[in-house]
């Protein structure tokens, strides 16, 4: 067991390496050969246990794929080697990939995110598992009552064959293009949504299926059907969905943690916060209640928590009936704590309470001052005397017993020892009161301990004092507020406070002194006594037994291993918070170590070719949102199309930030009278990126309207192209159509192109088409910089401002996420 601090840090590092420093070879439960042939298509269908009709569709897709050439009208696709792709992978239990294989730019992205190398390996591998069943599962419950089907496409084929058969491939037939054909042949995963007549789904349905290694596939297939009058929004996210929620780390609410704040990490040292995250989370949230229930905290199921699994440290003795297997203390103290996903925690496992090791002495706190402060914490308060025009005074109220009287007298002498004036008196009820107007005393108390009972809080200076000094403070606090019980010949120390934060602080100070105190909460209540309402606030009870390590808690240096008593599951629908921390990438939640958690999108394969088909029936509405942030080695060739019938409304919101080559033109076929379509498209083309995006509107019925708004940003040698098609059929009278595309160029080398294709068969159509190219003005940057923004910040501000009309159209949390991605993306783009 390490004895000193340095050893301890080294020990923590070792453990860290062990956890993340793997470099295994890929091991898949199932993997087809590289390249594609008819046998592989049959094999995929067989593994999935599909019906014959689906196999037929796949085979048709394969034939079309083989017969069509690679399109040459757009971006250069010659870099795709179709024979070098695994078309179906079913990952097994082992992780994928070695760090060396990760492309250079991905490594840089990790750098920008400030993720340490060990952790990057973890995230770069296939272990980024998002259990989409959790999301699906929850939504299913909510929506099943309404008859909404929301599941993955593979399951839909088995469970709802009639529906799938009816619609699959009707919007985008395999013959449509080479990549749609390829998808038809080899697709795996994706979402299937059916919203019945008149049902309006108020919450956006979202899928993080892409992060899930199994369901992600490179060829997912999504099919959405909104029946008459239905309404649904679907968000396809590449977001890290695994953020933590908790209210305390060093006793500050996590949502108020700012970049630059210093926090203690699992090693006990202080590190600064280098980034903060906030995300919406809808689904399961776990509440971990350790032996010390007042330290309970909540987090999402993917969040890693520092832990020692119980089953690794049990004694090799037969289990007693109804008893949890007993733990061997020797084994426990030898065991290495590891970061384990919260979902994998079990009751009885040990989580790690870390006592911060930062020490900074301050000579203003001598023994006398600490004793006074201890008593102030317990009994004191500062108030303004109205009669004396608001002059402040500090008073300490003691009980009326003789013991209390002695303590009051001791305090009085302590104050006078410091050279300050004070007086002692007895109130009418016989209580001892010590009061003083000494400014230095008041300042000492207020600055270091706060004012009222609920808001008492120890200053950072006090929290960092050497443990020995803190003990003096605590001993006197105990004299005032605490009680001592003798139980089994040992002293049980107990104190209670209305200040929650103070309770955590006292616990921390005790921990620094080698004592783990239990923290429990006594809920507040309202009682009516003699007709008067008495309100009691929550009381936080701190207790420990002197000379005995509390129950099952074991101490290892500055760490305490505390068993989990209970794990509760909550349903949660709100924002969750998380932040990144320099070096250690961990922080303490109510004293317990958890790991920061973020999952950049990384795909080892270089081809992503999805198909999304949407059918919007009469009077129905569908909104489909994509935020695409694939890594820079991906060819993203996605076909997205919707059929909109009478008075239906289809909206595509399409944000493209990642990938090497992106070709994506969501389209709407306006097939019924009065149908309308809208496409909002954002593209950011960075170094070596080609963003070829836009949209297609086909007016096939009268009185249909459409709108395309496209905004693109190009920087370095990035190329952003708008490619749009507008078709108005002969029978489509009174069509209205607006197309607006704006481009912003950040450098001289960056490029933008506009390719509008129009085929108008009617005279009476109202069409507006506007296009504008802007360059970032030196004047603009100068103006922003003259106010203190750095060049990068100024640039980001201009870019975000330019994209604002589109980011505003996203649900709030997604616009926050998009802005964050764009910010990350503009860093380093200044020439």
């Amino acid at each position: 067991m390490p004895e000193n601090e340095n050893e301890l840090l080294g020990y923590a590092d070792e453990e860290y390496k062990e956890r993340y420093g793997f470099s295994d070879k890929t091991e898949y439960a199932y993997k087809t050969e590289k390249g594609l042939n008819e046998d592989i298509v049959r094999e995929i269908s067989k593994i999935k246990g599909e019906p014959d009709w689906m196999l037929e569709k796949r085979l048709t897709g394969y034939k079309v794929f083989k017969s069509k050439p690679v399109p040459t009208w757009g971006a250069d696709l010659s870099g795709i080697d179709f024979d070098d792709v695994y078309y179906y992978l079913k990952p097994g239990g082992k992780k994928e990939d070695s760090w060396d294989k990760v492309p250079e730019d991905i490594k840089k992205t990790f750098d920008k995110l400030g993720i340490p190398e060990a952790e990057r390996k973890f995230f770069a591998g296939a272990e980024i598992q998002y259990d989409s069943e959790v999301v699906y599962g929850h939504v299913r419950q909510e929506l099943e009552k309404q008859g909404v089907i929301f599941t993955d496409t593979d399951s839909a084929i088995k469970k709802y064959p009639e529906l799938v058969k009816k619609y699959f491939g009707t919007v985008i037939p395999p013959t449509d293009n080479k990549f749609a054909a390829l998808n038809t042949a080899v697709f795996s995963g994706g979402s299937f949504i059916f919203v019945p007549k008149g049902v309006k789904v108020t919450m956006p349905l979202q899928a993080y299926f892409r992060i899930n290694a199994e369901k992600a596939g490179q060829f997912e297939r999504t099919l959405i059907i909104a029946d008459e009058g239905a309404d649904v929004t679907y968000i396809e996210g590449c977001l890290p969905a695994d953020e933590l929620v908790s209210r305390g780390d060093t006793f500050q609410r996590i949502d108020t943690i700012k970049k630059g704040d210093a926090v203690p990490t699992h090693t006990g040292r202080m590190q600064s916060v280098n980034r903060t995250f906030v995300h919406p989370h809808r689904g399961k949230l776990l509440e971990i209640l350790p032996l010390s229930k007042g330290n309970g905290f909540k987090l999402t199921s993917e969040h890693p928590v520092l832990c020692i699994k119980r089953n690794k440290v049990i004694v090799k003795r037969q289990q007693r009936r109804n008893w949890k297997p007993e733990v061997s203390t020797t084994a426990l103290l030898k065991a290495n704590a590891e970061f384990v996903k919260a979902a994998d925690l079990e009751e009885g496992d040990f989580i790690v309470y870390v006592a911060p090791t930062v020490i900074s002495d301050d000579s203003q706190f001598d023994e006398t001052a600490l004793k006074i402060l201890g008593l102030y914490l317990a009994e004191g308060s500062v108030s303004a005397n109205r009669a004396l025009r608001g002059i402040k005074m500090v008073s300490f109220s003691f009980g009326k017993s003789k013991k209390e009287g002695l303590l009051a007298n001791e305090l009085n002498s302590l104050i006078q020892e410091k050279g300050w004036k004070s007086s002692i008196c007895r109130s009418k009820g016989g209580y001892y009161i010590v009061s003083s107007y000494a400014k230095e005393l008041i300042r000492l108390c207020e600055d270091n301990c706060g004012r009222g009972a609920k808001t008492k809080l120890l200053s950072q200076k006090l929290m960092k004092l050497p443990p020995g000094k803190q003990k003096i403070l605590l001993d006197y606090y105990w004299k005032g507020d605490g009680s001592v019980y003798i139980r089994f010949g040992k002293k049980l120390m107990r104190a209670s406070t209305a200040s929650r934060f103070l309770a955590y602080q006292i616990q921390e100070i005790l921990a620094r002194n080698g004592i783990f105190a239990n923290l429990n909460v006594r809920k507040g209540s309202v009682d009516t006594i003699l007709g008067r309402k008495i309100k009691r606030s929550d009381q936080y009870i701190i207790e420990y037994t002197e000379g005995k390590e509390t129950g099952e808690v074991r101490r290892n240096g500055n760490r305490f291993y505390v068993p989990i008593k209970q794990i509760k599951t909550h349903y949660f629908d709100d924002l969750v918070y998380n932040f990144g921390v320099d070096k250690d990438e961990s922080y303490l939640v109510k004293g317990f170590a958890v790991h920061n958690c973020t999952a950049p999108i990384y795909m080892s394969s270089s081809l992503h070719s999805a198909v999304v088909e949407i059918i919007v029936h009469k009077d129905a509405q569908v909104k489909y949102v994509t935020i695409q942030n694939w890594s820079r080695n991906v060819y993203n060739l996605v076909t997205q199309r919707a059929f909109a019938y009478e008075n239906a409304r289809m909206t595509w919101i399409d944000a493209n930030i990642g990938s090497r080559v992106n070709m994506k033109y969501p389209s709407v076929y306006l097939k019924g009278r009065g149908a309308s379509g809208e496409i909002l498209s954002v593209a950011v083309a960075g170094e070596n990126q080609i963003q070829d995006s836009g949209g297609k509107m086909l007016h096939l019925a009268p009185d249909t309207t459409s709108k395309i708004i496209s905004k693109s940003v190009s920087k370095k040698n990035g190329v952003a192209s708008y490619r749009g098609q507008l078709y108005i059929a002969k029978n489509a009278a009174n069509v209205k159509s607006t197309v607006r595309c704006d481009a912003l160029l950040l450098n001289k080398e960056s490029k933008t192109n506009t390719y509008p294709y129009m085929d108008i068969q009617r005279e009476d159509a109202t069409i507006t088409h506007e296009a504008a190219v802007g360059k970032i003005g030196e004047e603009q940057l100068f103006y922003l910089m003259s106010r203190g923004l750095t060049e990068e910040e100024a640039l980001t501000t201009v870019v975000l401002g330019f994209l604002d009309p589109l980011t505003k159209a996203l649900p709030m949390e997604y616009s926050v996420e998009l802005k964050r991605l764009i910010k990350l993306d503009t860093t380093g783009s200044v020439a």
Binding site: G777, E778, E779, Q780, F782, Y783, L784, M785, S786, R787, G788, L789, T790, E791, E793, A794, T797, V798, L800, G801, F802, L803, D804, P805
Partner: protein
């Protein structure tokens, strides 16, 4: 803070626009630079703030004795310099309030958002900015007068040590000139801001009390003194100074 400009020469396209200007401004002082159009006032102001296209060929700009020529505009802002623009640029989609918040965070520590919002609101009322600023983009759709007021508002919120205000009065009606001048005075007193007011009308000076007046012509300071110079200008025009 002391801002010193020493024998500064600045060309544009090979032509010397600022030709050997000397200027010394202490925090808390009020200076006025007067001169007709094209006399080099704006070029001087932008050079002090660090406009990248304006590169001095000789001379120096010092803050507390240290040259700031190598510093980018943001670093100069962080030192406590501020430039109120003659023509504030419009930035699409960037909220005025959000921008002010970022700027405040850039130049000072421990920004309390609530207090900042309250300050902005109070200052906007003081400046008689009628429309609600919330939800408006930075200078976009602002009238000429609003833009000028918004510059003064920014000064009041960012609280620099020395502010150069380039024609804070041009394009304002008589009432607005008074409001702007009074607010500049108030901010300067309250936050001890040294001022350099650049103008070619004496109108705004009816409401201000500058200790130092500099007259600029053809890129040089041709006369310096107290308020009496303004009267002379009023009577005799710039001609009387350039002839000397």
């Amino acid at each position: 803070m002391i801002l010193e400009v020493k024998d500064l020469h600045v060309p544009i396209d090979g032509k010397e626009i600022v030709g050997g200007v000397n200027l010394k401004v202490n925090q808390g002082e009020v200076h006025v630079i007067m001169g007709h159009n094209g006399s080099g006032k704006t070029t001087l102001a932008k050079t002090i703030m660090g406009y990248p296209k304006l590169k001095p060929t000789a001379g120096d700009i010092l803050v507390d004795g240290q040259s700031i020529l190598a510093l980018t505009p943001d670093k100069r802002a962080k030192l406590g310099l501020f430039l109120g623009f003659q023509n504030p640029v419009e930035v699409e989609g960037v909220g005025f309030i959000n921008f002010l918040h970022s700027a405040k965070e850039a130049v000072s520590t421990n920004v309390n958002t609530k207090e900042l919002m309250a300050d902005i609101r109070a200052d906007a009322v003081g400046l008689k900015m009628v429309d609600n600023l919330i939800g408006r983009s930075l200078n976009q759709g602002f009238s000429g007068g609003e833009k000028k007021k918004a510059e003064v508002l920014q000064m009041g919120v960012l609280r620099p040590k020395i502010a150069i205000l380039d024609e804070p009065d041009s394009g304002l009606d008589i009432d607005a000139v008074k409001v702007v001048a009074e607010n500049i005075n108030a901010f300067s007193k309250k936050y001890n801001i040294g001022l350099v007011i650049i103008t070619h009308y004496s109108r705004i000076l009816n409401y201000m009390d500058p200790q130092f007046v500099h007259v600029m012509a053809n890129g040089k300071i041709v006369a310096e003194g107290g308020k009496e110079i303004i009267e002379k200008l009023e009577k005799e025009g710039y001609e009387s100074f350039t002839k000397q």
